[in-house]
Amino acid sequence: MDYAAIFVIQVAYAIASLALISVGLAVIYGMMRVINFAHGEFLMLGGYAVILPVQAGVNVWFAMLVIAPLAVGLFGVVVERIVIRPLYGRVIDTVLATWGLSLLLIGLASAALGYYQEGSKPPLGSVVIGAYRESVYTFFVIGITAAIMLALYVGLKRTRFGLLARGTMQNSAMAAGLGVDTGKVYAATFGLGAALSGLAGGILAPISGVVPVIGATYIAKAFITVISGGATVLAGTASAATLLGAVNQVVTFLSTPVVGEVALLAAAIILLRLLPAGITGRLFRGGI
């Protein structure tokens, strides 16, 4: 019984963490059709934006929930201005430029902060479930991911910015014709995606630690989740994270985490053979 409970918690955690690391990428992809190759480095920056202030004595929750998203979000706005904007409409070039940015950030972080592992203790201790022990932080990650998805849903569905963003996403020429400053919307969306990535990196930093190259451990899964989900931000991320997270965690239980990752990839490739535009290319169309 307690084993089953642990199993369910672990699967839920796998799904939540997959959605968490993917959602910032999904926002940018859904809006701009650009895969941000520097996504892993945005997560890395979010991690440092938690670890460094905490070492300087700042409260960990404040650093995680405020400093990390703000810092990386602002950075995202600057990046959009300098690197992304000159390349609008040239999707492949944008991908390549963000890949360059990714390498540049790894190089800068290595030069400035060194290669060693920065750590901080996961807050909140643990609870006992039968014969097993589970970190309370696991529940926090599941909870906050659900909260982020909900906030994003409300933000996109109910606010004026959400309306403009969705309008620009569906038909940018029409939105511009109706007087929307689409450039500003793109910049804001890129900033939002970056902020979400920073938040995710910050939330995961106490668990995984931060090194300059940590992005590479996240992006494989994040990329696969976003493209399997398709261009619809929330429905895509949620459905792909649920499917792939479950596959990943069940196979991890049966063998090792690496084999779980291979299973995730194999499932995604077979899925894309059947639904080449991702899950939301066929299902949940017209959602957000």
Binding site: G100, S110, A111, I224, I227, L272, P276
Partner: protein
């Protein structure tokens, strides 16, 4: 006119290549010879991507994965067999089979450009994690240990076919590498000039139009992708034999990015550009790795290669998007036009 110029260029390259093949080992030092050999080997990898991306329009961002698979297939087979002929073939065939399978799912699924780029890169990254996790002694293929993050050291080099007691020395390795580079370069030129190559370019330019003319674009693209993987695998074999070593970093994201940078710097849509880009970038990163003055000037202990690659990549995408070789050609042509006017 341009056709005649290009075939004249081909003859010049062939003549220079053959001269280098014979002459260079007598002229330069052993150290340089070993360096030049690896430039040739990496150029073969670059050519494979120049063909797949530049001519077939397939964004294979994980092209280095096929290089790695070739190297590992060679390593596993040569440790078990001792003689290198079958391992060399294995190093070409294993990546081709892998690419055919992977390509079937992607190309016949008709996933978009960017999706294909992301999937190929992700496959490479996951192979990286997979190989890295095989450190334990239980991960063996026959007598060969996969070795995890330590890689597979002490590989026997390629030998004269059928004679395991005659391994290639440094000069031979150089000749083999340069010879292979010339062979791959001219083979690809021939492929591109053939009917198959022209259909590929037509698909790259307008896939729908090519299909309406009755060409099954998926079949052509899959064949190009598989051929490219075979060439990359061949380069991987040469690389493993050259250094007597293959390690998981060939599957890493930094190496995958490097191959992309070679192509972009040299010029997408050319074969020569791939070689130019490879040599330039490799020379630059090697030099930056050795020089002490520049990092000291910037107050750093050393310059991280990904820093340099990142800057080069961003600058080229923003400022020189067509790459060095096409830009030079354009300059030259406008100069000529101005002179004749």
């Amino acid at each position: 006119m341009s056709n005649r110029a290009s075939s004249a260029g081909g003859i010049v390259i062939a003549a220079l290549g053959v001269a280098a093949l014979i002459g260079v080992p007598y002229v330069v030092e052993l150290f340089t010879l070993v360096d030049v050999a690896v430039y040739c080997i990496l150029s073969i990898l670059a050519l494979s991507l120049a063909f797949v991306w530049g001519y077939a329009g397939i964004l294979s961002f994980g092209q280095s994965a096929f290089f790695g698979l070739g190297g590992y297939a060679y390593a596993m087979a040569v440790i078990n067999l001792g003689e290198s002929t079958v391992p060399v073939l294995a190093g070409i065939l294993v990546p081709m089979i892998f690419a055919a399978l992977l390509g079937y799912f992607m190309i016949y699924g008709r996933v978009s450009d960017v999706y294909l780029a992301v999937i190929t890169l992700t496959v490479s990254l996951i192979l990286y994690h997979l190989i890295n996790s095989t450190s334990g002694p239980e991960y063996t293929i026959g007598r060969a240990r996969l070795g995890g993050h330590n890689g597979v050291p002490g590989l026997p080099p390629i030998n004269v076919p059928g004679n395991a007691s005659a391994p290639l020395d440094y000069a031979d390795t150089f000749r083999l590498s340069l010879g292979a580079l010339l062979l791959v370069y001219f083979t690809l030129r021939a492929v591109i000039a053939s009917r198959f190559g022209r259909v590929l370019v037509a698909i790259r330019e307008n896939e729908l139009r090519a299909e309406l003319l009755g060409y099954d674009s998926r079949r052509y693209k899959l064949m190009a992708f598989t051929l490219g993987a075979g060439i990359a695998g061949f380069a991987g074999v040469l690389f493993a034999s050259w250094g007597s070593f293959i390690g998981p970093s060939v599957f890493g994201i930094a190496f995958a990015a490097q191959v992309i940078v070679w192509i972009l710097v040299g010029g997408l849509g050319t074969l020569g550009g791939a070689v130019v880009g490879t040599v330039l970038i490799q020379y630059l990163t090697t030099w930056l790795g050795q020089t002490k003055a520049l990092p000291a000037m910037l107050g750093l202990s050393k310059i991280d290669p990904s820093l340099v690659l990142g800057i080069v990549l961003i600058l080229f995408v923003l400022l020189v998007p067509s790459g060095i070789l096409p830009t030079l050609r354009k300059l030259l042509r406008s100069r000529q036009a101005a002179a004749s006017a």
